[in-house]
Symmetry: none
Subunit: 204 residues, 4 copies
DNA sequence: GATGAATGAGTATTCATTCAT
DNA sequence: CATGAATGAATACTCATTCAT
């Protein structure tokens, strides 16, 4: 007879919010933000349309929260702020971490990639993305130099492209590009990719 | 005031059709298919909404025609069907051709990438894309083998990823990744990327 | 920790009810009935939405109760049912009472006026309003006759209009029409407004 | 077979626009802005909901256009900018004009009055209303002085109230307050209302 | 008595598509 | 061939009301 405690309410709110976000993520990633309607989200989540607005101000807010949440769970899970030079081992571990995070956040990544191609959807997604990605570039760059690259800028471009491309393939066609194999091949290629005195002259 | 010949009419039809498609491509690529309305297309093209339906059955058909047309203008411009083995020089030329085509069809590529991430939009876009891309994979593969790769499958994965990633960067952030530099770096990396007896053991 | 007596409960109920009504009056008067939501009322009153329905059947009932209550507190505070003829002094007192009541019930009056213009909102508000106002008309009429008006019907119209208009101005733009000054001016005009043998001929 | 001329389109647009505005005015005036839905307007006008948005950006814009249009057709129909002093005859004519305009724009006036009580609905309606009304106040004031009022400010208040009140009654209960009679009575009262040396001392 | 999660009907608005001219 | 008025279904969002606790 007594009303629910605020703790109970908090739990309900938390659970529902997550349910909505997960459902929305699934649909946004699969069909795109614009092609996904609140009705679809509500239906799939098994709730009423109205309830969605009990938890989120707007469809846009769901997207924004998904982005923030996605960034948090992906980028902030490893500390990229230490300046120390990575050993080969540490670097490999770092790359493997990236693959692991991709594996665990496939939907988020799919959403991110689609937003990259239409940054207008979420106003400063690109900026955030660039910011979040910057430390990674920095890390790749430092590592390349520490490994004796004679053209770290160029190597960085290629290495970044390779990683980004690998990610894209894994998201778009995971059945054609098995995650684990791709991971090994990429890791295996890194050393070869670095331009050193020895290999830089060997023009293709 | 002699009546226009049917030839003239045909030309007018053809021009209008192209005008609509170009305009639609621009808007689809920039804002996405769903976020672009027929009104916007018509307005930007300087024609009436109704006229659009004189040339296309539906908004979807514009997209489909764009895809087909895009594939045609991109993939079929070089003949990928010859089985002969490519020399290094021919191969480099082939890669450069790809960059050139990207440069000339940036909008198409942007559209393609966004469709890759939302294949539902155009029902069998992914299939077409895979089909059109297959000969290229084949060519990369043959080339890798001809160059003495001891793991052509693995090298193919990495090489594909690198190219796809380069393309994505060039589309999404051309100001950060200058086209020409990227092209040189990629080409320069190919030889290093191939796993041969000499370099395969060098574990990172 | 003895259980509250039913008397205490009643008092709590009464207080909550009044709290809700006051809050609703404020919002209805300021923003209109339709533009005011139950959520806003509850929030402003510091209670839950649900509780509102513990005291009122519906939003409409709050309005209706406000109207009834408003009529009660305004019209029934002075006894209009005595038939005796008013002296000048008594009449002036009566008019001053009206101004006083307006001052003390500005929100109610604002609400009343807006309902007058949209009687559909509360079904028979107009009827009630006319009924409640009737004795006042009667009183004005009797007074005008007792003062020697040779056209009491006409004078009544004008006097009513002047009073209603004064009230409207005081509600809508109290800063431009200071209450006390308006009151004096209106009272001062009443005698001049009555058409007597002496002034009726003076055509404007 | 040939397309409609732009003249034909213009006429259609003009007519439909007026139809929508008239219908909206009717409903806004009767039921209020918030209580009137676009569906109702469309239904009553015999058109589809969508068409409304072919002619107006939003529901709010319909209201704003109605206000502007209403002001235009009411206030600007007589020139209030001449500074010359009005004779009695001219003044009476001016007042009669006001009643005529009220008669011809009853719905507009009803809408205006309801907006007066909820200025939030249309952001700066009150300001416009005050501005448009200012010249009329000025005219009343000048006239009162020219007629020898010894308290023109006070008389102005009362006269304004009388007019505004008369208007309100005519809008709200025209069957109880017949327009023509009210008009005569008001006009007849004006001279008596002016406080002169002769009548100012006669305290009620 | 009190809470706020949940619902569903309703609202303003958009947009692909049709069609008379 | 060309126009844009017209439609109707769909969309994001609101809100009075219910109800389990």
């Amino acid at each position: 007879m007594s009303p629910r405690t605020s703790k109970q309410f908090d739990r309900i709110r938390q659970e529902k919010k997550e349910l909505i976000m997960e459902t929305a993520l699934e649909l946004f990633a699969e069909n795109g933000y614009h092609a996904t309607s609140i009705s679809q989200i509500a239906k799939k989540a098994g709730i009423s349309k109205g309830l969605t607005y009990n938890y989120f101000e707007s469809k846009k807010e769901i997207l924004d929260k998904l982005i923030t949440h996605g960034f948090d769970s992906i980028f902030e899970s490893f500390d990229l702020n230490h300046d120390s030079v990575l050993t080969e081992e540490e670097f490999i571990h770092f790359i493997r971490e990236n693959f692991r995070l991709l594996r665990e956040n496939l939907k988020h990544w799919k959403l991110f990639f689609s937003l990259l191609l239409q940054p207008s959807v979420s106003d400063n997604f690109s900026k955030d993305y660039a910011e979040k990605g910057a430390p990674m570039f920095q890390m790749l760059f430092s590592f390349l130099k520490s490994q004796g690259s004679i053209d770290p800028e160029g190597d960085l471009m290629v290495l970044s492209a390779m990683l980004e491309g690998a990610f894209l393939y894994l998201i778009v066609a995971p059945e054609v590009f098995p995650m684990k194999i791709m991971e090994e091949k990429v890791i295996n290629s890194i050393s070869r990719l670095i331009s050193t005195e020895n290999n830089s002259t060997s023009k293709l």
